[in-house]
Structure formats: structure tokens, C-alpha cells
């Protein structure tokens, strides 16, 4: 299955208020088919509100929103058939087994009987719940419930997938599996929008990132561009066997480094090392050479945090 024409999600100037709270103020967003787009922003930025609007549950105040080419206000039914949505918190029915839970949603989407059985078996395998189809849903662990939620969102093979913090509560293996699942869905041409606070993980999942703050889009980048831009200047972590020698050398190294205009930036002491920067890769290499010549026993030099994290922190810096 290749990527269909057009955009999975197209939102222009979306605003929404809850009484006195202006949750969204003219937010723009595009999510192409065949890619994973990450939605990143601080608490209360309006991510969940936006996803509710995209899921046709909440009406936007202003703005135009199209999901899989259908206007969510004019034709929510068509948009609903094309989208799968997983909320950040959701309940499951008491007294239902995993199998029955998925069967109910398959029926709600009007899947044929024999297609339904096959689909559910495939989904249970996909989210690794195939060992407990008979287990009551309310007895599942948080991570298992989360995986069941993913299976529910996928039951009707949506072309657009909306996930609100799907990774919370998942163990490391399940996260890797979720990442692989999202990547393979994107490879099949699904437009995936995922909100998350776990930046290091998004970096591996997402092709694009949309940064939102105070209900506005503050940046929309391809992950590759972001990585390149961030390589220009990030903070670096230096590990050394001798912290005192390192600290001492760092105070002097600045003078030796030509073209290090803003200096080393704030030097932060860490257990077993220090953090400096932001520096470019060239500057970092120069710094390492200077430290080694001074006889500092350096065991490691690596960028601190990720490109996405730097972009995120730069965006939220204005808040303080």
C-alpha cells in the first residue's frame, strides 16, 4: 500500500476555548501519509485538545480541519471511519474479555464476521496480547491496557492514526515494539500523529515534529533538519576519571580555543564529569584536544540530550 494523495491531516488556524481558558489559538498542523509526526509541547499546551478536535469529538471554535480529506465539521462520519484514536486516559468496560472488547469495536465499525475474527487475531498478535484473549479487560495491567487501546484504535484499519501519549506505562520492550509498530504502519502509508513527552523516543519514531506551546504551533520540522540544525550548537557532556583536573582545565581551555566566541557557556558539574556548551562539533573536538593535552583523563565526550530536546528546551525557555 503506497501513500495516498493529499494529506492525512490538515489543520489551519484552529482555535478553541473552554470558558475563560483559551486552549488553542490559531494552531496549524499538517500530517502527511506514510510518516510519523510527533506532537510535542509542555503540559497544557493544547495537544489533547487538538487531538480531540481531530478525532471529531470536539468542535473547533475557528479554523478548518480536514482528516483524510474530510472536513470534521461538515462530514464527521466520513472522518471517523478513516481515523483511529487512542486517548491518553481511557476506561474499559467491566466484565468483558479482551476478545469481546475488540469484537465489540469491530462490530461497531461494521466488520464482517469472518474478517472480524481474522482481524482480531492479527491485532492481538500485533500488540502481544495473544496469550490473554480470555482475560477480563479490567484486570489488565496499565501497559497491557495501553496496548489494548492501540489494538482498538487499529481495529478498522484507519488511514489516519491519532495517539495521545501512547507510550506512558509501557515497559522498555513494549516501547520498542510500539515504535516498530508505528514505523511499520507509516511504511504502509498510514498518517500517524503521536503526542508524547518522551523526546528521546520520539526522535527514533518520528519523521517530523510539530512543536506547540500555548495553543500555537511554534515549530514544524523534519526530524532530519532538526538534527542537522541542532548539531550546529548543542551542549556536550564530558566524562573524566579526575573531576578536579577536568574542572581546572575547563576554566583555562577557553583561552586556548580560537574562535570560541561565547565561551564555554555555563559549565555544570556532574558526577564523573561536566556539561558545557552549546558548542559546535568542531569546537567540541578542539575542546577535547585541549583537555587531552593538559593531561585530563577524558573517558567520554558526547552531546548532552538530543536535537529534539534542545529544540524543545529552547522553545520553552521563554516561559521562565
Amino acid at each position: 500500500m503506497g501513500a495516498p494523495e493529499g494529506l492525512g491531516i490538515e489543520a489551519r488556524g484552529v482555535s478553541r476555548r473552554f470558558g475563560p481558558v483559551q486552549a488553542l489559538r490559531g494552531l496549524d498542523l499538517t500530517v502527511p501519509y506514510g510518516q510519523v509526526t510527533a506532537l510535542v509541547g509542555p503540559n497544557g499546551a493544547g495537544k489533547t485538545t487538538l487531538l480531540l478536535i481531530l478525532a471529531t469529538l470536539l468542535r473547533p471554535g475557528e479554523g478548518r480541519v480536514r482528516v483524510a480529506g474530510h472536513d470534521v465539521r461538515a462530514d464527521p462520519g466520513a472522518a471517523r471511519r478513516a481515523l483511529g484514536w487512542m486517548p491518553d486516559t481511557f476506561g474499559v468496560y467491566d466484565q468483558l474479555t479482551v476478545q469481546e472488547y475488540l469484537e465489540f469495536f469491530a462490530d461497531a465499525y461494521g466488520l464482517a464476521k469472518e474478517a472480524r475474527a481474522r482481524r482480531i487475531r492479527a491485532l492481538l498478535t500485533l500488540v502481544h496480547l495473544d496469550e490473554q484473549p480470555g482475560q477480563p479487560v479490567h484486570a489488565l495491567s496499565r501497559g497491557q491496557k495501553q496496548r489494548l487501546g492501540v489494538a482498538r484504535a487499529l481495529v478498522h484499519r484507519p488511514r489516519v492514526l491519532l495517539l495521545d501519549e501512547p507510550a506512558s506505562g509501557l515497559d522498555p520492550r513494549s516501547r520498542v515494539e510500539l515504535r516498530d509498530l508505528l514505523r511499520s504502519l507509516a511504511a504502509d502509508g498510514v498518517a500517524v500523529l503521536v503526542s508524547s513527552h518522551i523526546l528521546s523516543e520520539l526522535e527514533e519514531i518520528a519523521d517530523r515534529v510539530v512543536l506547540v506551546d500555548h495553543g500555537r504551533t511554534v515549530g514544524e520540522h523534519a526530524m532530519a533538519d532538526l538534527a542537522e540544525a541542532a548539531v550546529a550548537r548543542v551542549r556536550w557532556r564530558i566524562r573524566s576519571l579526575d573531576r578536579e583536573r577536568l574542572a581546572e582545565a575547563l576554566t583555562m581551555a577557553i583561552d586556548d580555543l580560537p574562535g570560541l566566541d561565547p565561551g564555554l557557556g555555563p559549565v555544570r558539574e556532574l558526577p564523573g564529569g561536566a556539561e558545557v556548551g552549546p558548542l559546535t562539533e568542531t569546537e567540541a573536538a578542539g575542546l577535547l584536544a585541549a583537555l587531552v593535552t593538559r593531561g585530563v583523563p577524558v573517558t567520554g565526550l558526547a552531546p548532552a540530550g538530543s536535537a529534539l530536546e534542545s529544540a524543545y528546551l529552547a522553545m520553552t525557555e521563554t516561559r521562565r
Partner: protein, 331 residues
């Protein structure tokens, strides 16, 4: 909206709400209590019915039926007064709303589930209602008619309770208001009527107050007890002939009398007579005639109320939502 969608929601609702063993125990207790009380009532009637004519089946039927009506209507809000806001609180409503199921599917499905449960509750009381029918004291048509009306009234209360649960964010509030609605229908209407009687009464030519109940009888019409009693087909009247003294000073009375200890019949005659403006003139017992029926108005009013409540719950389930109830997060 499709029948398939509504059936799907109804099945799901019954499965998730009623699968617990607790319900079976509750229904068993209900069955034992209602039928046990009916049996005791019957025994009491047997012991008492020495002088009155007629079978004790008639008062038994009426008494049990009215008790069953009031009790089931008191149970009914528990079945549906949390069906929508309770789902929202549990976080299962939004996942249902993003499926292609229409708001009407959800509203009617939930109503069908709670009404169906209410009907099961009613069905469990049938043995003690069928006893007088089996004896021949009550015609089968009368039994069918009253069961049908009771079933409809249970449906109305289910619908109104569900309407409250769609309108209000908190399930405690909607349960409270559902009980208040039932209370208003059963107790509030006679209360209002009693208050309205002196207000609407006129000064008659003879200086006495003349109650104009023919202007306010409709206040009693929505009362489920009145509807049920009045809708029950009346029992055949008995001809009474009293012939005192065969001679010239003889006094002869000839009239038809309704069975005296039929609770449904006496309520029905009472409310029908309210519709007549018989002024200050008090006719003798033999001359009294019944007024026109009250129940069609009451039942129509209650059905409209129920239909309105279903409409409210369906429209409250419609998404995308613009007005979000205060203090509610959709998901």
C-alpha cells in the same frame, strides 16, 4: 441510526452492567419479596373477607399491582440514571463516540438495555398478578392492559433518567434528579392538585365554595398510579335491587354498583368524576355517573416526556461537541 447499531449498544450495555452475579441475587431477592408479600396480602384478605361479596382476587390484583408499580418505578432510576455520565466518568463514552455508531444508536441502545431490565423486574412479579386471573376474578384483558401500561411507564422513567444522565455531568446529581422526577410524578401531582383545589374554587350562589375540579383534574393525569388505575378496563357492575315492603308504601331502589373493594376501580371512578362539573349538587350514590377517562391524557403526557428525554440524550451525545459541560474533560 440503525437497529443494528442500537442492538449492538444494548447488548454491550447488558453484558457489561449485568453480567455480575450480584444482579442475579438482587433479582432473586426481589422475586421472593414481592411474591411473598403478595401471598401474605392474600392470606390477610382471605381472613377478612367474610361479609363482602366477591372474590379476594379483585383487591389482591389491584393492591399488588399498585405496589408493584410504585416499587418498580422506584427501582428504575437505578437502571439508567448513570448510563451516560457514568460512562463518561469511566472513560468509555468517548471511545464509543468515535466509532461510526450514531448518537441515536447509543441513546436507544442504552434505553433498550435499561428498559429491558425494568421489564424483567416487572416480569418477576407476574406470578402474583396472574393468580387472580387464573381464579377467574380478573379478566385476562384487564391483566394484559395493566401490564402493558406498567411496561410503558417503566420505559418513560428509564428514558427520563437517561435524559438526566445525558444533561448532567455528575452521576450523583442525575440519580438524585431521576428520583425526584419519580417522586414528583407519584407524590407531587396529588400535592399540587390538593393545593390547586381551594385556589380554583368559586363562590357558589348559595354562598358555599364550589370546587371546580373539572378545571384542574389534569394535574393528576400524569400520575402513574392514576394512569394505571384508570387505564385498567373496569370490572362489570352488579345490579342492585332493593325492594322494601311489597305494599303501597314500598320503596324500591334499582341501580348498578361497581365491585366495592377494587382499588383500581375506585381510583379510576374518583379521578373521572373530577372531570365533571357537578356544581354543588351531590348526586346520590345510585345516580352518580362516571366522567370521561383521564388516562389517555396522562399517558400521552408521560410518553411525550419520555420521548423528549430520549431526544435530549441523543442530541447530547452528538459530536463534535461545542459546549462542553463545566468541569468535564471529554477524554
Amino acid at each position: 441510526m440503525t437497529a443494528r447499531g442500537a442492538a449492538l449498544v444494548a447488548r454491550q450495555e447488558i453484558r457489561t452492567r449485568l453480567r455480575t452475579g450480584r444482579w442475579r441475587v438482587l433479582l432473586a431477592v426481589w422475586f421472593a419479596v414481592v411474591n411473598g408479600l403478595a401471598l401474605l396480602f392474600r392470606l390477610a384478605l382471605e381472613a377478612d373477607s367474610t361479609s363482602r361479596y366477591g372474590s379476594p382476587g379483585v383487591p389482591m390484583f389491584g393492591g399488588v399491582l399498585l405496589a408493584v408499580l410504585v416499587l418498580t418505578l422506584l427501582i428504575t432510576p437505578a437502571l439508567s440514571a448513570q448510563s451516560i455520565n457514568g460512562d463518561r466518568e469511566r472513560g468509555t463514552l468517548a471511545t464509543l463516540q468515535v466509532t461510526p455508531l450514531a448518537p441515536g444508536d447509543i441513546a436507544f441502545g442504552k434505553l433498550a438495555a435499561s428498559w429491558g431490565t425494568g421489564l424483567v423486574v416487572l416480569l418477576l412479579t407476574v406470578p402474583s398478578l396472574l393468580w387472580p386471573v387464573a381464579e377467574g376474578a380478573i379478566g385476562p384483558m384487564r391483566a394484559v392492559a395493566v401490564l402493558l401500561v406498567t411496561a410503558l411507564l417503566i420505559g418513560v422513567v428509564c428514558a427520563v433518567s437517561q435524559g438526566w444522565s445525558a444533561l448532567l455531568a455528575r452521576s450523583i446529581t442525575s440519580v438524585l434528579l431521576s428520583y425526584l422526577t419519580v417522586f414528583a410524578l407519584i407524590v407531587g401531582t396529588p400535592l399540587l392538585f390538593t393545593i390547586a383545589v381551594p385556589i380554583t374554587s368559586e363562590q357558589g350562589v348559595d354562598g358555599y365554595d364550589n370546587d371546580r375540579t373539572d378545571r384542574i383534574w389534569w394535574l393528576l393525569a400524569p400520575n402513574p398510579v392514576v394512569i394505571l388505575a384508570d387505564a385498567a378496563p373496569s370490572l362489570p357492575k352488579r345490579r342492585i335491587i332493593i325492594d322494601e315492603g311489597a305494599g303501597s308504601g314500598g320503596h324500591r331502589v334499582d341501580y348498578y354498583e361497581a365491585p366495592p373493594n377494587d382499588p383500581l376501580g375506585s381510583i379510576s371512578r374518583g379521578v373521572r368524576r373530577l372531570r365533571l362539573d357537578d356544581g354543588h349538587y351531590r348526586p346520590s350514590y345510585a345516580e352518580r355517573s362516571d366522567g370521561p377517562p383521564v388516562w389517555p391524557f396522562g399517558l400521552a403526557f408521560d410518553l411525550v416526556l419520555g420521548a423528549g428525554a430520549v431526544w435530549v440524550s441523543a442530541s447530547r451525545l452528538r459530536t463534535p461537541l461545542y459546549r462542553v459541560p463545566k468541569g468535564v474533560r471529554i477524554a
